[in-house]
Amino acid sequence: MKTNKIAQLALLAIAWFLLICPLTPSVEAESAEAGSSVAGTVKFQGTPPKGTRMEMSADPNCTKAHPGPVITQDIEVSAAGGLEDVVVYVSDGFGDKAFPPPSQPMVLEQKGCSYRPHVVALQANQKLEVVNADTTTHNIHPMPVNNREWNKIQPPGMPVEESFAREEIAIPVKCNVHPWMKGYVAVFKHPYFAVTDKNGNFTLKDLPPGNYTIKAWHEKLGTQSQMVTVAAGQSGKIDFIFRQ
């Protein structure tokens, strides 16, 4: 009986190390230390390629939504050289720290038979709300490598709510019905990411002090990285330049 007890204790200890330890991420109490932000601009240097026209005539519902021709969204550069739709994110610096997903969903809209926004970034397990604001039926088809692939038909007005469980930068999204429609969904395990606006600007908010690797990803131009040290209460600035 006594040996039984000892055996039980030993097993408990083993169970602790095998089962509970590795599954408990170190969730530190977030000290409300003045969150520092890192902001900057992503620029494109060189002559931006001429976009090609998206040929939508196969579906009159799509052509009807636009007064003129629609140009592809691959490389969008502002007059001042700002590069849109670059995902800027902390790629290293948090270890295994776990971050609960925000309750607010990210919205991906299909409007005029294109994706708005063209690049969406969200947290793992955060809801992705896919909206069909068009008068035609789409299929929404993300093609991930680390996450599960799914593919749903979406007639006008039907809601689709999904999420991705694992980090992945970035998942291509397609509508096979309208082959010119392409977009990306970037999934992060933490909340420190941003997508550049039409002027190429981004802000990573509320970063705790520390050393980080910041990366910038563009669907056609690849990935760049920089190291940055964030001090308490000080906002940092970094810029990226993509060339072609």
């Binding site: 039926t137 593919n151 038909i153």
Partner: protein
Amino acid sequence: MQTKSRTTVFLALLVLIAGASGLAQEAKVGHLDGNQRRGKDLYQRYCIYCHGKYGDGQGENAFYLDPKPRDFTTAVFKCRSTPTGTLPLDSDLYDTISRGVHGSGMPSWKPLTRQERVDLIAYIKSFSPKFTEEKPGTAIVIPDEPRNSPESVTRGSELFQSMNCWQCHGKEGRGNGPSAASLTDSKGHPIAPFDLTSGTKLKCGESDKGIFRDLTTGLDGTPMPSFSDALKPDQIWDLVHYIATLRRGKDSPKSELSESNGSH
């Protein structure tokens, strides 16, 4: 307290057992249990030439095949009874191995014994960690087929239009819709939408229930989406009934076709 610690001990034992067996992939179809080691031997004899040593679909014959052999490392499968985005049941993989995939290089493996086919499944699942990390989806329910009627066919034909089936499959179901030429599978290989009038066998089985299932689950890894969130089961049956008219059009003798009202 006592029961609680008992439970913990039980859990600990489970963890130990799982650890000791190296998280062996299991497969179960009916009363048959798959054996991964035997499955590996069979795989190396029969499957490796197309699906490759690492299960990534890059066997030496793969270059010559269209569509390409399945890449098991992605754990994405066309023919499933489970919803889009979920892993297939062992019985789904068993059905595919047994039936073969029509229109592809994948033959029927009925010459293998049932046990051998289940052993293969145990080994095939070991190529992707997803089979240890996730549970398979829950099989969809296929309600009884409502009576086929001209009204149902008409409703189906309207859905074929409004759901944009024709964008890929073509107005007459010949697989020649405006988007047909652009289609690729999820690995970027060109893939043709099914010619519904061809009368050849469908990839995932021939029965009306099989077509209902394909429409409901979608064929993951291909452009064919799932209709389960968009349509009610009755509407999916309407589509099945309409698709049947496209298929029968080709099967019926020519004279009969020309004498019919020509609406096919």
